[in-house]
Symmetry: C2
Subunit: 244 residues, 2 copies
């Protein structure tokens, strides 16, 4: 019998922001595999399940663990924060799939931080937008810089993931400087949200110039408006273009 592994996007963390499809996939599994931090967020909702975790930077090991468990006959759910296909485990799972005959994959989408964070800030991504990660663990910085410049050249709104961490303190500042250098106005409307959909969510709007010196961490998602975006009563709004 063919074994199917579900790669499940759990959304920001709270079960009310998970889809029923995701909840069912977790409920129907024998074992739930994930990154320690995310597993801790959902454990309480599935008290009778077996959970297995691997730490950060052991993503490929985590994927292989899922395939091994599936080969043993277990129903496996691999959870990812946000959406399984946005910087998630969907791609490495598909890359490994050809090695594991008799196993198939199903991706269950979830609410990614671009969308959950946008909801908190108002409507920052309500026109064409880019999603860019500032983490250079897996991507050369030159590529990230190229994308930031292209995003400004195309006048996209942006959601920026992994804007900083304790080892990458000045990455957001550097990204802002690149955007300014590429011609973005220093008063460009921006914003950021920390701990989206979790205890103590905090949202702020500011200009691109101000954003440069804001402290952000790996639980923060940053939003850059396009050239027409506005700040309005603490919200960030990127117009769709309707005649109001």
């Amino acid at each position: 019998m063919r074994k199917e592994i579900c790669i499940v996007g759990m959304g920001p963390g709270d079960i009310t922001m998970m889809t029923k499809e995701a909840e069912n996939a977790l409920q129907d599994s024998d074992v739930i595999v994930g990154y320690t931090v995310y597993v801790d967020l959902v454990k309480k909702y599935f008290p009778e399940k077996e959970f297995l975790t691997t730490p950060m930077r052991e993503e490929v090991k985590r994927c292989r663990l899922c395939f091994d468990l599936a080969k043993e006959g277990k129903n496996v759910a691999l959870i990812c924060s946000g959406d399984a296909g946005v910087y998630g485990m969907a791609a490495p799972m598909y890359e490994l799939l050809p090695e594991y005959e008799g196993v198939s994959l199903r991706v269950v989408p979830g609410i990614t931080a671009a969308n959950s964070g946008a909801a908190v800030l108002g409507a920052p991504l309500n026109h064409d937008f880019c999603v860019i990660s500032l983490s250079d663990l897996l991507t050369p910085w030159e590529q990230i810089e190229k994308r930031l410049r292209a995003a400004i050249a195309g006048d996209f709104a942006m959601a920026i993931y992994n804007p900083g961490s304790h080892t990458r303190k000045d990455y957001l500042k550097h990204a802002c400087e690149i955007m300014l250098d590429e011609g973005a106005d220093k008063n460009r409307a921006c914003g950021y949200v920390r701990a989206i959909g979790r205890e103590g969510t905090k949202a702020q709007v500011c200009t691109l110039e101000e954003l440069k010196d804001r402290e952000v961490d790996m639980f923060t998602t940053v939003f850059i408006g396009n050239s027409q975006s506005i700040m309005q009563d603490g919200k960030l709004v990127t117009k769709r273009g309707y005649q109001i």
Copy 2:
């Protein structure tokens, strides 16, 4: 008392792909407002609710209807397909908000077609990506072309919304030609999904050159890989960069 209007992203249509938060917001409302086609998709889940609709191109009227109902004291939910903040009603609602004192807004995010379609195709957006609409109803085509060129220049993966309709039959072809002209390889891995999360979902992968001549409609979402994306057993995979 301050009246709050909920702008709710319903996901692709099926209730299992809606979040609990979205379902609760609809359940707690007195009246649900939306575009006729989307209202028809959710009506069956909320048989006791009052529904009000406006047709396409009457989006601003739809928004004002929500504010008027809220002023009358009604609990209003405005539904959008996918996510409320991705080409949805969140932005025009915020733009109108200053005209309506005593009313506040809450955006409830949903699964947008970029993510639900990606799940069907495998992992097409598993690295930095852009979301671009080809509809020129509200955006000059020159702006759309500029963004397509920037997306190729930055080597983004892409989700393309509104790739065609009966009045815009050749828009996708034209977009593909722009991408090829900007230097995208004709064998670039692409794909598209029709009727995501609904009856008769259909997914296909193909090269950028092949995509040019595929017929798509307003219920189709198109995915363009980045230069490293691959087609694998009918799936489209954009690698995150892990050492496999």
